[in-house]
């Protein structure tokens, strides 16, 4: 597991990048184990050191899309508080998709990694950063 980046507050990330990265991030978190919306967001926050901030509600349409595509399966469980909670579970198709996404991100990662160094400039203070098990920090 890569070291948790220092918490420096949320970073602005373009909408397109957010949308593109949400699928692998959610699938990877679910690959760690079944989870539910709030816990997934907590995990995203934790992994990014608080720098990747999703609008909470927006996670749910993403989860529903993944469910429709067959990458995750949902089930309702009653939490200890007595509330109904919707848990998501990654499917075999989801794992395949995750591997595919990982391959693509690694290509991009490697490409960008190859160009950042020759540019040899000190990186700006705030830049997007992703960190989780299956994806190396892209802009480090």
């Amino acid at each position: 597991m890569p070291p948790t980046p220092p918490s420096t507050g949320p970073t602005d990330i373009s909408k397109d990048l957010m949308a593109a990265s949400s699928t692998p991030i959610v699938l990877a978190i679910l690959a760690e184990g079944d989870s539910y919306g709030y816990a997934i967001l907590q995990r995203v926050r934790e992994l990014s050191g608080g720098r990747l901030e999703w609008t909470d509600g927006m996670l749910y349409p993403v989860l529903h899309r993944l469910e429709r595509l067959g990458y995750v399966k949902a089930r309702w469980e009653t939490a200890e508080s007595g509330r109904k909670r919707k848990y998501y579970h990654i499917t075999a198709a989801g794992k395949t998709q995750l591997a595919e996404e990982r391959r693509q991100w690694q290509v991009i990662n490697a490409t960008l990694g190859g160009i950042w160094q020759p540019l040899a400039r000190p990186a700006p203070a705030h830049r997007p950063r992703f960190a989780y098990d299956n994806l190396q920090p892209a802009f480090a």
């Binding site: 539910y36 919306g37 709030y38 609008t55 909470d56 349409p61 529903h64 919707k86």
Partner: protein, 458 residues
């Protein structure tokens, strides 16, 4: 503030937020449950780090994001939800499913009851297809009690005195429908009674439908809305039933089995009787789910009927022809008045009562006035020759109905014009129309009860 009050306030805030979300069409109730779980978790964790519940709530709601863009995202993912779906038996959770399912079970049980009732006279030698007049006189008595029963159950009226009076009305109807010694099977008074009995009994349906609200204008107006939707659903069911019957006959013909007798003696009467109840149940079930159809059709056809009537009157004026009404033609004018009345009623029923007069209101008035003029010309013609025709039961019945409709429309036109001139609100017109419902029923009852002895059972 005490902690309990704080918790109450929080619950109230969450409940409000939930209601707000539920109003979004694209966000389903299960999604709201999921988002609420999220919100509560967020509030709890913010409270743990020392925020007051109301602060925690505000922050949690803010983090949830802008509701417009959220519901847009949901709409992209669930576009089917923008089509309002009739959920007859909700699947959300067991407890919320119970009332809907119970409703469906009762409705279908009563539909089966009506289907059996219509076949019951078979046991007593009154055969369908042979004793046609018997069925024609009694058809509403086989079916409408089940419809009334449905509303008695639905509105929980079984213990009230109203139910006894409704039962008395049906028993009285059964007596009057069957005691008269009609001179022949096709005597006019008998046919008239058969036609008018359902009209009279429809009032009983209305009283049951309105529950305790029949005395209120709003309750009777709801019944008018119900009646319009019910007719539309019945027509749709009949179309489907016709298709089903056609395929049934065709398929069995290909294998050399004749199902005509089954279709004629069982499928059509039983299906039609059941459809009466099922249509009512559908109207009740979809009431808040689907746009009412009657007002939509009204919007479409009011201008068209207005154009037709104006063209007719214009042609009349231009060519100088007289309206030459044969006796049967007055019936057609009755039909015209009924249609114009329905167009006015259903545009009224869907109208925002506070909206100022608009172009559509002017079209309504023109429509009503044009229909009145056309009908007056027809009446003038027939009254001029009434002595020549003589007073037969048919003529009196048709003329009577025509007068009733004419009076209604004339006064309605007056009230509508007053509204257009900002002298009065439309509430007056609504009151007039809903009170007038009694007049149709009373007239129909007179035709059923008084006409046969008056005209010597001819």
């Amino acid at each position: 503030m005490r902690p309990t009050t704080n918790a109450n306030v929080l619950e109230e805030q969450i409940a409000q937020w939930r209601q707000y979300l539920l109003r979004r069409q694209a966000i389903g109730s299960r999604d709201v449950a999921e988002l609420e779980d999220h919100l509560r978790e967020q509030v709890a964790s913010l409270s743990d780090v020392g925020l007051a519940p109301d602060e925690a709530f505000l922050v949690a709601v803010k983090r949830m994001g802008n509701l417009d863009s959220l519901s847009r995202e949901f709409a992209l993912e669930h576009s089917e939800r923008l089509w309002k779906q009739l959920v007859v038996v909700p699947t959300a959770s067991a407890d919320s499913a119970a009332p809907g399912r119970m409703d469906a079970i009762v409705a279908f049980a009563l539909a089966v009851g009506a289907a059996i009732a219509i076949k019951a006279p078979n046991l007593f030698g009154k055969l369908w297809g042979q004793d046609e007049v018997f069925y024609a006189r009694n058809i509403s008595l086989f079916v409408l009690p089940f419809l009334v029963g449905y509303f008695v159950w639905k509105r929980d009226l079984s213990a009230s005195s109203m139910t006894r009076w409704l039962a008395v009305a049906f028993v009285a109807a059964a007596i009057f429908a069957n005691i008269y010694p009609y001179t022949s099977a096709d005597s006019s008074t008998q046919i008239l009674a058969a036609i008018h009995l359902p009209i009279a009994l429809w009032l009983a349906v209305g009283i049951a439908y309105a529950g305790g609200r029949w005395s209120q204008v709003a309750g009777r107006m709801d019944f008018i809305r119900f009646s319009g939707e019910w007719v539309i659903y019945l027509v749709l069911i009949a179309l489907g039933g016709g298709l089903l019957t056609g395929f049934l006959v065709m398929m069995f013909t290909t294998i050399g089995v004749n199902v005509e007798r089954f279709v004629e003696h069982w499928l059509i009467p039983c299906g039609a009787a059941g459809a009466v109840i099922v249509a009512a149940w559908l109207v009740e079930a979809k009431q808040s789910v689907i746009e009412n159809m009657a007002p939509v059709l009204t919007r479409l056809f009011s201008p068209l009927f207005t154009a037709v009537l104006l063209t007719f009157l214009g042609t009349l004026l231009f060519t100088g022809r007289a309206v030459n009404v044969e006796r049967e033609m007055l019936m057609a004018f009755n039909g015209l008045l009924v249609i114009v009345l329905a167009l006015m009623l259903y545009s009224l029923s869907a109208r925002d009562p506070d909206a100022p007069p608009g172009i559509f209101d002017i079209i309504q008035v023109v429509l009503v006035v044009a229909a009145l003029v056309a009908d007056a010309l027809a009446l003038w013609n027939i009254v001029g020759r009434i002595t020549e025709f003589g007073f037969s039961p048919n003529r009196v019945a048709v003329l009577g109905m025509n007068m009733i409709l004419l009076v209604n429309l004339a006064w309605s036109a007056m009230l509508y014009v007053r509204f257009l001139r900002n002298r009065d609100s439309l509430a007056g017109l609504e009151r007039w129309q809903t009170r007038y419902l009694h007049v149709y029923a009373i007239w129909a009852a007179i035709v059923v009860i008084v006409f046969p002895p008056l005209f010597g059972y001819r």
